[in-house]
Symmetry: C4
Subunit: 324 residues, 4 copies
């Protein structure tokens, strides 16, 4: 495994990490979750990502039990949670948003479900226009002061919102955010590469990127369009389909087709190639893998080998083939 610093922080995360999103507590039951966490750990994965919104907390319960069963050493692994998953409905008004109350309650709940004394990483899962950024920064800083959180960050915040959080933290002498969790893949690269560009040097921001396979588009399974199978066709993921595929649906599927064709030419499976592509960006601290089966995870973990094998010429061909 390769390890990278989380931005300019001193925390060393495995370049490939394992997330519970859309799988744990849904398709992936307790046995499979435990098996995959064990396999990831054996491969050197040291960061396991989660959120209160994943399967309504069940993903955290499954992960917490698995980690406890496997007796992973607390100082060897990192675990995260996230608070407030945007527009998606939570049951009651105080159980959403980035108010001090929800930030604190959600932290305590995650600690309980994950069965740990502190969260290594704690994310604001989405920005909340209805809470002043200062309130959220103060609440996060308080949790850090109390030792319940080590590093806090954001997910899918705009560069302007991240900059505002840093400004407030500096002014009020509070702990600033350390990392962002953005979507990043061959078909969705503008935010990480352009919008956030000034933030890396200025604030030492790290990124824990999600959806390296563009929700499956880059594996080729939607090459013939989004039909009845796969996540993008599931109920409740309309928002994701719009976000991943965007306005120019046909255009993106076309690019995915070119990508999988090139992968075939190079003699590689598309998934590890797409993941390896993410790792080429030095501002990516870790790439989040999701998997519903152990074989899928094993295939994804091949990305590091792919990264070592390919030369610059191959990467240039890839860029050319998939240009927007």
């Amino acid at each position: 495994m390769q390890y990278r610093r989380l931005g300019s922080s001193g925390l060393q995360l495995s370049a490939l990490s394992f997330g519970a999103w859309v799988t744990f507590g849904n398709k992936v039951g307790r046995g499979a979750a435990r098996e995959m966490i064990a396999a990831a750990w054996d491969h050197g994965v040291n960061f396991f990502d989660n959120a209160e919104a994943y399967a309504n907390g069940e993903a955290e319960r499954v992960m917490g039990d698995a980690i406890a069963d496997l007796r992973l050493p607390r100082d060897g692994f990192c675990v995260s949670s996230k608070v407030f998953f945007g527009a998606v409905r939570e049951p009651r008004p105080t159980q959403k948003g980035l108010s001090r109350k929800h930030v604190v309650d959600a932290c305590h709940d995650a600690l309980r479900r994950l069965r740990v004394d502190y969260l290594d990483l704690y994310f604001c899962h989405r920005p909340d226009p209805d809470t002043p950024i200062e309130e959220t920064v103060r609440a996060m800083d308080g949790l850090v002061q109390q030792g319940k959180v080590l590093y806090w960050g954001t997910s899918e915040w705009s560069a302007a919102q991240i900059r505002e959080a840093h400004k407030i933290a500096r002014l009020r002498n509070l702990q600033p955010p350390t990392m962002e969790q953005p979507q990043y893949n061959l078909l969705h690269r503008e935010r990480v590469e352009l919008e956030y560009a000034p933030l890396y040097a200025e604030f030492g921001m790290g990124t824990t990127v999600w959806s390296p396979l563009a929700s499956g588009l880059l594996t080729g399974k939607y090459n013939n369009g989004v039909r009845s199978e796969g996540r993008l066709a599931q109920d409740g993921y309309g928002w994701l389909q719009r976000m991943v595929i965007g306005e120019s649906k046909e255009r993106r599927i076309e690019r995915a087709r070119k990508f999988t064709a090139l992968a075939r030419e190079l003699g590689l499976a598309p998934a590890p190639l797409a993941i390896a592509w993410c790792l080429r960006n030095p501002h990516v601290s870790t790439v989040m893998l999701g998997a519903s089966r152990a074989e899928q995870l094993a295939e994804n973990l091949e990305a590091l080998a792919v990264l070592e094998r390919l030369d610059d010429a191959a990467w240039k061909r890839l860029e050319a083939a998939t240009a927007a």
Copy 2:
């Protein structure tokens, strides 16, 4: 239920909330308290207001037991307490005022009585000219840092005192007050509408208003003067009678009579109409309801329906009829 942010904070309170004042631990026993809290919760009320001074702590005990019995989810409801109820006598010198000692002791006592780990809102129940505001702000900030309080605020402080608290908090990098709990109703509106006017934009102050019925005056029950029934005639409420009815006692009862007459004309019960009037003010975060019987509470909760039903013309008539 409608939900509103507590000022510019991220906390979402139900526009109608339920307070223990003068009822819990007095006329309202444990059974009735539990029944009314359950009913309020079922109607979407998520804020339950209390104070150390209400029935000498008994109101908090009754509420804490009811909330525990009903197993309300801690992240779904908000509960408050208040410290130092002004001139009213507490037994010993250290048990009153806004000294660090009393602020801290009263918080710990309220946590115990309410059976919670933290107070969502904690109020300075009255200003204390004998304690420097800095001492109180520092004590409140300390409780927030320790996780025992989420938001702190004031009750019946002057605009100048609130501004001073903000100034100190900014200067010393402490958590500023988030909200005020003022009296507000058709007959007592100057403070909320005029004195506090600059504070809403400047500090994002929220308000949790009390006595929307002017201690019953607006229900019409004192239309023929304050006689032997009702709170204003009770022993120990002389201060309230003076505060509510003020110098021009006859004038106010006259206005209350006009109000109830208009309510009759509109085919509405006076109480929900008076409450709805409070909700028309966008600077009101929540209106505190008090009730000694379930039917009374149910009637008061009709205020939101009244608010939807009436048009601007009706409100204008109301303003004209009750002008001071």
Copy 3:
């Protein structure tokens, strides 16, 4: 009982308070201690003073047990401890001075002996030239942040040292000292009246004064010189004899004689008169009484009655008679 604010703070202390110094754990056993604390409490005394140095911690144990036995309400009384009693030897190097280690260890020990969760007042018992004032201020502030101490102060520090502590607290945004515990009586008044004069307005400093009877000189018991009885003749109190009687031993005993003669003329016991004299100074927050017998304590508590009874003319005669 009369109550006074501790300087400009919001804490209300009884004008007469009760200290364990030189009595508890020595002449005064557990039964008598308990009896006197109960009597003081019944008279409205709400502050009980102690220190790690008093009988090597035994004074705190005796007081803690008595307060627990009597079930005094925690929010009704104040208790203090003090750390580092100057040149007097403690057993080991880390167990003296005002280092962060000793300040923290001594606080924890006092909490255990006094059987409380927090100290209301915590004093630096003497200045420590071998510890930077910043280290002590930071350590005190840390204990306040953790809720283990409410107010911290100094005892027998110079005005310059107190000012330095305030300067550092302001600069570093730490809690400044609230009070000083100086010796103060008719024969030893310069520090309180002259040296500290600028501090009262500038920092709102309160004082909890000790030795209102000048270690007994003002009761008349040394009128014929220091012989084999009384504290000043005891082994180990040479330092106190020098401090109380000073260079001009004969002169002071002479003044004490005049004082007792005047008391006799006024028909008053000397002790309560001497204590009442201290209370005339508005910068005195509370006068610490010591007693080895209940009758002595009862007599001392008469000071408030004396204060009310005497007119300005009497006080002027007293000043004239005892002028240095």
Copy 4:
């Protein structure tokens, strides 16, 4: 025993202290460790030094058990730990470096192994170029705020790195480092005497120096070269051999020979003479002794007697004889 302040702090350490390095958990078993700690304590030693890296935590377990068995009073002794021993390999990426995670995890682990509630001293065992100094300073300050650490410091940091830590602490109002733990002996004196020279007055830095015997060179046991015995010849200590003996291996052994010859002339054992030499430097707060046998420790403790016995002339001869 002589006691010295830890730099300008108020903490009084014994001039000779006892460290677990390379002995505890290796050559020195539990019985011998306990015996030597008891002997050191009886001689007035009050500081026991340790680190997570010593025998992989076993040194801390042995020391913690011994201290508990001996019932040393917590306010009478000081104990330390250190986090991150530089290039030496720890098992996993998050278990090394000076990230907030490792600083916090290692502190909690040390508290558990040493069986104490707080560490008196906590060191960054080596600088970590891969963690921003601000992250480490904030993490250390957090532990101090939580009462888990009293004083934090560095070991083998450059003067520039120490200055940077102070600058950040001042700017952000965090607790600055109090002490450094450098190597210091007759053959390795430049850093302490030259590089750190400006830091003593500027920041009041204290030093807890290690290797007063230059890993045994100054006892004379390597006078005929590093052969098969002694620590410098052990596996895994290549780095130490290079650090101690340096480029001019022959030259240093030559100086060690002259030193031992002079010791013989003065009628002194070389070890206590070498230790006494360290104590002559007023910027040395304490000299760390290591010993694998009780007799060795006893001999080393003679250093204070040597210091008293020798006159300036003897020290001048020593300087001349061992000049580089």
